[in-house]
């Protein structure tokens, strides 16, 4: 009875020595057991291609109403047909700024989960849930408010500020949200 291996492998005894070396290597990325701080890879590291630090340009941010709710109805897109008829040109006007109707149930569930994790001292866990929410609704101002507040809570003012500015730019037409973002930015000294 044999264990067949079609891939040619050289497994001499000399590899035993290498195994000791592997042990050392194992400590480099795995670090089993030890609670290591999670490394947040920022601009230079995470982006592609190599990018020097972006130059932030402080600019006045006017308010704009939130743009799209995740449950917004999508227009039906016609099946690909080669153009034959030229329809009359009509374009929708920019929506009037309105009050923010509150986060969708899915966002509420994730924000609550994040709150729970944060109160248990798990800021990274909270961040993960809020980023889930942000992926689901990248234009929801409430999610940005939570993200900015969490960053502030984590002592990361540099990340809190642009989040607050983006949130502010999405909350025109809602005085409560606008006030909340302005207070946050004022607290950041901006």
């Amino acid at each position: 009875m044999k264990i067949y291996a079609s891939v040619q492998r050289e497994r001499g005894l000399w590899r035993a020595a290498a195994a000791v070396g592997l042990l050392v290597l194992a400590g480099c990325a795995g670090q089993p057991g030890a609670r290591v701080p999670v490394e947040e890879r920022g601009y230079g590291a995470a982006t592609f291609p190599a990018q020097p630090d972006a130059v932030a340009t402080p600019a006045p941010v006017p308010a704009a109403a939130y743009e799209r709710r995740p449950q917004a109805q999508r227009p039906e897109v016609a099946a690909p047909v080669l153009p034959a008829v030229v329809p009359a040109p009509v374009v929708s006007a920019p929506a009037a700024a309105g009050r923010y109707p509150g986060p969708a149930p899915v966002l509420l569930a994730l924000i609550e989960q994040a709150d729970n994790l944060q109160s248990q001292g798990d800021a990274q866990g909270a961040l993960a849930q809020l980023e889930r929410a942000q992926r689901i609704a990248p234009r929801d101002p409430q999610v940005y408010l939570q993200l900015a507040r969490l960053r502030l809570h984590m002592g990361d003012r540099a990340r809190a500020e642009p989040l607050a500015r983006r949130g502010l730019s999405l909350s025109a037409g809602d005085p409560d949200l606008t006030r909340a973002f302005k207070a946050l930015l004022a607290g950041l000294g901006r």
């Binding site: 990325a29 995470a46 999508r74 866990g125 993960a128």
Partner: protein, 776 residues
């Protein structure tokens, strides 16, 4: 080395072996030395075994996962799109889902049992999910009759980063392994495993007898322990030395470790199949490879099939030799029955079952090479190749397998259509496509070749080509950032001009249609992509202002300050162009493009996360005006082919790009949720018959038609006001005047002069898309 010295000593011992007193003494000495050497050898073997066994035993390749599909009421998702995802996850269609990984697909309704997954941010349980679809949306999500706010499917495994020997495995713990598998393994391979001390004399005797009777080798006498030693510590060549070392090493192994530890190592080491160059090791991965589900979920005949493969994974390959595999499986079943693992009825029933092996997933063959290439390049900045290939890291990416599949189809469909129209002129035409989320900066799909499976030159990342008119938004943005000087209706000269090249020669650009228009409103210069107007505007602004805008939009390459830059001599890859348009789509907030969300260790510990980052680079007001002009491009400019195909309410924005002699055909555009950049051209830079509009735009349109995107709804920032104006005379008009347009201005830059509807100047177009705004 002790093994080398030992024979030479024994040779000298032979020559000295004479029955004299001195001879005996010498013999004794030599034997003593041999004994010491033997002991040393044993000690060496012992050290080898212990370090290998207790150290890191296996190089576990990094696993790369797609984004998990988030399910929640209100999500834009059709049952058909979900079916694509489930197919890639290896779900089996059944009438009534009873086990994890089974699904019932009906029109408008899907019921499944998810497998559950340990995410970096928590465990997603395996559970029954009921989904109802209507109007292109997931309308209802519930589990066991109760509404569920959100659930995640397990992520699709899209690839791995393999070590040089291409061994791949999923580690299993003994406790996870179904007891029937262990029983079948022991009954088939080594009946006395729990009694012997590494070698089994009974086993050897039995094998010898069987081989003698058969006249050839039909049975081996190796115990499981010996098999493990052979694979674990020794080279695969057959040699006497190896055979001699196998037995003592097996005994040493048994001395140090208990049966369970040895069995667990065996379960993970054994070779069970071959997927291309990738060797499938261990029962954990074999279960996924043959049945698309974890070991815990296998039935008895499936377990028996895997045990049967131990004897020869290629000879009994169930996909290639199903009959052999079935005979072998049924033999294992009967051995299992003889050992009391199952009763006769169960054995009989199991033997009636088909093999149940799933088709080889297309994903095992490097399904998304261009995307994985991007992931690997990003990983290599933060991790060493050897760690990636050995530490069992889990890499979570933002790849969307549904979008990726649709993007591949779109590119292939359009290239084929173009081939029918243009024939030999586009022989060998190549293409690339990058799709991202227009708001979060996550890259969701990448294609680097017109054959998306081809693993070679990745054009999405490495085809650095002149971007042509795709550069123009930067010129106009530089102008719109100066509201006191420029508005969307500023008159721009559209006249012949001479520009100096890098080499000092003089160059006179032309409009695409070779017309000269004298003066054009600024917004039209962009939407109709007039070269002369853009060059005039850019020279007025100065090249440094344009270069500054390009850098803030996200261009990190060095930009040569020559006038030809204004018309697109700048060369970028499709991915870099995506970054540039990302900033425009996200209202002036630059978010570095990301393909990786997080990296988790084999123990499930988060090692690095790549969080959402953004920095504000432009005022939303200036970007709002630019977006207006880019929407106009789609409505009445160079990209109006799109407008004929999609509903107005989508409000798409985009820009075509064509380079000299039509060597490159580009389109970059965005909707509410997706941003995509398409490129078509020849690798050898030959001219094509394609413009941006007749080439790349078609790919983009095909993709968006498949994706059913969300509309791009802009909202005017507080410092932007919309005014009815006569764009050609630059005056305010009454609301809804025949030739007036509603145009956004940064507050304070509106025209001051007012002129009613009555005064009509030069001949104008009868209709403009914006004048119809409030028509009904």
């Amino acid at each position: 080395m002790p093994k080398k010295r030992a024979p030479s000593r024994s040779r000298s011992a032979k020559s000295a072996a004479k029955p004299t007193g001195r001879g005996w003494a010498l013999l004794f000495k030599v034997l003593l030395v041999a004994l010491v050497l033997l002991l040393l050898g044993l000690l060496y073997m012992d050290a080898t075994i212990r370090s290998r066994f207790e150290g890191q035993r296996w190089a576990i390749p990094a696993k790369v996962y797609a984004r998990p599909l988030e399910l929640y009421a209100g999500k834009a998702l059709t049952a058909e799109a979900l079916a694509i995802e489930l197919k890639q996850l290896g779900y089996q269609q059944v009438g009534w889902p009873a086990r994890p990984g089974e699904v019932q697909l009906q029109p408008g309704r899907v019921e499944l049992i998810s497998r559950g997954f340990d995410f970096a941010d928590g465990k997603e349980p395996s559970r029954r999910l009921e989904l109802r679809f209507a109007n292109g949306q997931l309308q209802q999500l519930s589990s066991a009759g109760e509404a569920l706010a959100v659930a995640r499917l397990e992520p699709v495994l899209v690839g791995g980063i393999y070590p040089a020997d291409n061994e791949d495995r999923d580690l299993v713990q003994l406790e996870q392994v179904p007891p029937l598998l262990l029983q079948a393994l022991v009954a088939t391979e080594d009946r006395h495993f729990y009694q012997h001390h590494g070698i089994s004399l009974r086993g050897i005797a039995r094998a010898t007898w069987a081989n003698l009777r058969a006249g050839r080798v039909v049975q081996g006498g190796s115990t499981l322990t010996q098999q493990l030693v052979k694979n674990f510590f020794l080279s695969s060549e057959r040699s006497l030395l190896r055979k001699l070392m196998e037995a003592p090493m097996a005994m040493l192994l048994e001395l140090h470790y208990d049966k369970n530890e040895i069995l667990q190592a065996y379960l993970n080491e054994v070779y069970l199949g071959q997927a291309g160059s990738r060797a499938i090791h261990g029962f954990g991965l074999a279960s996924q490879y043959y049945f698309g589900r974890p070991l815990e979920g296998l039935s008895v005949e499936q377990l028996a099939l895997l045990v049967g493969l131990v004897k020869g994974a290629s000879y009994y390959d169930p996909r290639r030799y199903p009959e052999r595999a079935k005979a072998r499986r049924d033999l294992v079943l009967s051995l299992l029955q003889q050992s009391g693992g199952i009763d006769q009825r169960a054995a009989h029933r199991a033997a009636q079952q088909p093999l149940g092996v799933v088709a080889k997933s297309s994903l095992t063959k490097g399904a998304f090479p261009a995307y994985l290439d991007l992931v690997k390049r990003q990983l290599r900045r933060d991790y060493r190749q050897q760690d990636l290939a050995s530490e069992g890291l889990q890499v979570f990416t933002s790849l969307d397998p549904i979008v990726q599949s649709l993007a591949e189809q779109s590119l292939q469909t359009v290239v084929q259509r173009l081939r029918q129209r243009h024939g030999a002129a586009i022989k060998g035409l190549q293409g690339a496509l990058v799709v991202g989320n227009s708001q979060t900066g996550e890259v969701v799909a990448v294609i680097g070749d017109r054959e998306p499976r081809f693993q070679g030159f990745n054009r999405a990342l490495d085809a650095v080509r002149p971007i042509g008119s795709l550069v123009k938004p930067a010129v106009y943005l530089a102008a719109l950032e100066q509201p006191q000087r420029y508005t969307l209706i500023s008159a721009i000269k559209d006249e012949a001009l001479q520009l100096q090249n890098a080499d000092g020669s003089v160059w006179s650009p032309n409009n695409f249609d070779h017309q000269v228009r004298g003066l054009v409103p600024l917004h039209q210069g962009l939407s109709h992509s007039y070269n002369l107007a853009t060059a005039h505007l850019g020279m007025e602004l100065g090249l440094p202002a344009v270069i500054d805008v390009l850098q803030r939009l996200g261009v990190r390459r060095e930009i040569a300050p020559f006038p030809s830059l204004l018309l697109g001599s700048l060369s970028l890859s499709p991915l870099e162009v995506t970054q540039l348009y990302q900033t425009i789509a996200a209202n002036g907030f630059e978010t570095p493009l990301r393909a990786i969300r997080s990296v988790v260790s084999s123990e499930g510990q988060l090692l690095s996360s790549y969080p959402f980052e953004l920095s504000q680079q432009f005022s939303p007001a200036a970007i709002h005006l630019l977006q207006y002009a880019l929407q106009e491009t789609v409505h009445e400019g160079t990209a109006k082919a799109l407008y004929r195909r999609f509903p107005d309410s989508l409000n798409m924005a985009g820009k075509t790009g064509t380079t000299n002699d039509q060597r490159d055909s580009w389109f970059a555009g965005f909707t509410g949720d997706y941003l995509a950049v398409a490129w078509l051209g020849h690798d050898d830079n030959r001219p094509t018959p394609l413009t941006g509009s007749s080439g790349a735009l078609q790919v983009w349109a095909e993709l968006m038609a498949q994706l059913q995107p969300a509309p791009f709804e802009t909202v005017a920032p507080a410092d932007v006001s919309y005014q009815w104006v006569d764009p050609e005379r630059g005056v305010l008009t009454g609301t809804g005047c025949p030739d007036a347009r509603l145009i956004p201005f940064i507050v304070g830059s509106e025209p001051q002069r007012f002129s009613g509807c009555g005064i009509q100047g030069s001949v104008r177009r009868a209709q403009s898309w914006f004048s119809r705004l409030f028509a009904d």
